[in-house]
Amino acid sequence: MSDSGFSRREFLAGAFRGRNLALAGTGGAVWAQLVEGQRGPILRRRPPGARAEPEFLATCTKCGQCVEACPYDTLELATAGQESLGTPSFEPRKIPCHMCPDVPCVAACPSGSLVPDTAIEDARMGLAVLSDQETCLAFQGLRCEVCYRACPLIGQAIQLEFRPQERTGKHAFFLPVVNSNACTGCGMCEHSCVLEEAAIKVLPRDLAQGKLGSNYRFGWEEEPTISRDFGPSDAVQPEAWQDNTSKVLDALDELEETTTP
């Protein structure tokens, strides 16, 4: 446009003058530093359906529509001074994700940073980790199981493992065990933990989850089966077990009969 303050040629000619290049260089360095300084360690529990952290950080427009859509006020945008400024996350100990079946936060996201149509059971907001056995009541032999019962996927994401209590000789431990294949990271467990500081915490998956190398192949899962050594034994099947038990008892009876004078 001829009526604008300057022409494209003037602009380009001006842009490459030494002073302007210095300005752009300094500005660019400060600018890049400000961006990089916000990355920090990623310790944020992201909303359901969030893409992998690098893609999430690149595509999230920080509009807060997920925050507004959440009926439980779970989500918050990071404020100035926090890492990844303006992006949504939640603190389960304050307000956990209630795992709405219609996932309104995902539906509200305009940018696809929360993958559209994510089913809430497929969400991976983080991973619950029983991080401190020394304070967890269950590991002291006390009956608690509050996290187990609070879990929306009870019996799947948190299962109870029973173990004999050797100290008393007549009780059992009821130990909560997290299954990373089912845990959505909603944080109900962390929120409900009765301790002053939760012994079970939701951590970002990047931080908490292990990864099985592709070199590991389980023989009993291969087709055809390579090894039966670690596969399900017939002996633990209840019917088979009863069968075996009765056989053993019969044998004992026979033995008793033959040995008694």
Binding site: M1, D3, S4, G5, F6, F11, G14, A15, N20, L23, A24, G27, G28, W31, A32, L34, V35, E36, Q38, P54, E55, L57, A58, T59, T61, K62, C63, G64, Q65, V67, E68, E76, L77, T79, A80, G81, L85, G86, A108, P110, S111, G112
Partner: protein
């Protein structure tokens, strides 16, 4: 009353700025669905998407695809500002504008010296730099530091440290930069200025009534757009940098300026009805 008449557009602009913030705030806190989200991305009546087009460009530059919702939203915004003047965003919507205006008031009273004169065109450089840095860093670089979105977000989603943007910008405008944040740095303003170069709604200029008193130049935040020969020839205040703030319209005793629709092709007659 006469004060309001002499500042009618200023009052309207403050109402527009406050009203938009209020609607966003009500959307976030009272579940009023007129405007949800913020200036980065939003929905009008929970349906029509709006998106910051410069932010969308940065996401593209960072090497990521953007969703169709954001793409449509950005197109709606570009089209809207093509009609009403690109930098209308700056003076009618942007929450930094009242801060910058306050800075100008302070400056006019205290006349600080020794400020850094960064050329007004530098903003176009920073706009390009934002895209280059997005490509280098892999994230939308300006969105991560933007005082515009930071301020807007903090007002709507709860007042945190981000409100410190206000004293920062005031200090920058009053003490450091001669043309201030809006006048020489803001990449978003630069982007809207590019749209504004071709946009339709503009102050029309009736050269024959002008008595060269200079009131308009003194009150204009981007006085370079009021170059007499240029606007006299075009009959309009051209150039993308005009923010359609209309201070010139209300300040002029000769009523030389008035909003009108600029002809798309040079030589066409402007529309006969004045707005």
């Amino acid at each position: 009353m006469s004060w309001i008449l002499a500042h009618r557009y200023l009052v309207l602009r403050r109402l527009s700025q406050a009203g938009i913030l209020l609607l966003f705030w009500l959307g976030a806190h009272m579940h009023l669905g007129w405007l949800t989200g913020n200036l980065s991305s939003s929905r009008v009546f929970r349906t029509v998407p709006l998106s910051d087009p410069y932010a969308a460009l940065q996401v593209l530059a960072s090497g990521h695809l953007i969703s169709s919702t954001v793409l449509i939203g950005a197109a709606v915004v570009v089209l809207f500002y093509w009609f009403v003047g690109g930098r209308s965003f700056c003076s009618w919507v942007c929450p930094v504008n009242p801060v910058a205006d306050l800075g100008r008031v302070i400056k006019r009273r205290f006349h600080p010296h020794g400020q850094l004169a960064v050329a007004r065109e530098a903003r176009y450089g920073f706009m390009l730099l934002g895209l280059v840095l997005s490509a280098v860093l892999g994230v939308a670089a300006f969105e991560w530091i933007s005082p515009v979105s930071m301020l807007h977000r903090e007002i709507i989603f709860g007042a945190g440290l981000g409100l410190l943007v206000i004293p920062w910008i005031l200090a920058l405008d009053v003490l450091v930069l001669r043309h201030g944040w809006c006048g020489s740095l803001c990449p978003l303003g630069a982007f809207y200025a590019l749209i504004g170069r071709a946009s339709l709604l503009r102050p029309a200029f009736a050269a024959e009534r002008c008595d060269h008193c200079g009131d308009c130049v003194r009150v204009c935040p981007e006085p370079q757009v009021l170059h007499f020969d240029r606007i006299a020839a075009a009959g309009f205040v051209g150039g993308g940098e005009c923010t359609n703030c209309a201070r010139c319209i209300e300040v002029c005793p000769q009523e030389v300026f008035s909003f009108n629709v600029r002809p798309i092709r040079a030589g066409d007659e402007p529309a006969t009805t004045e707005i």
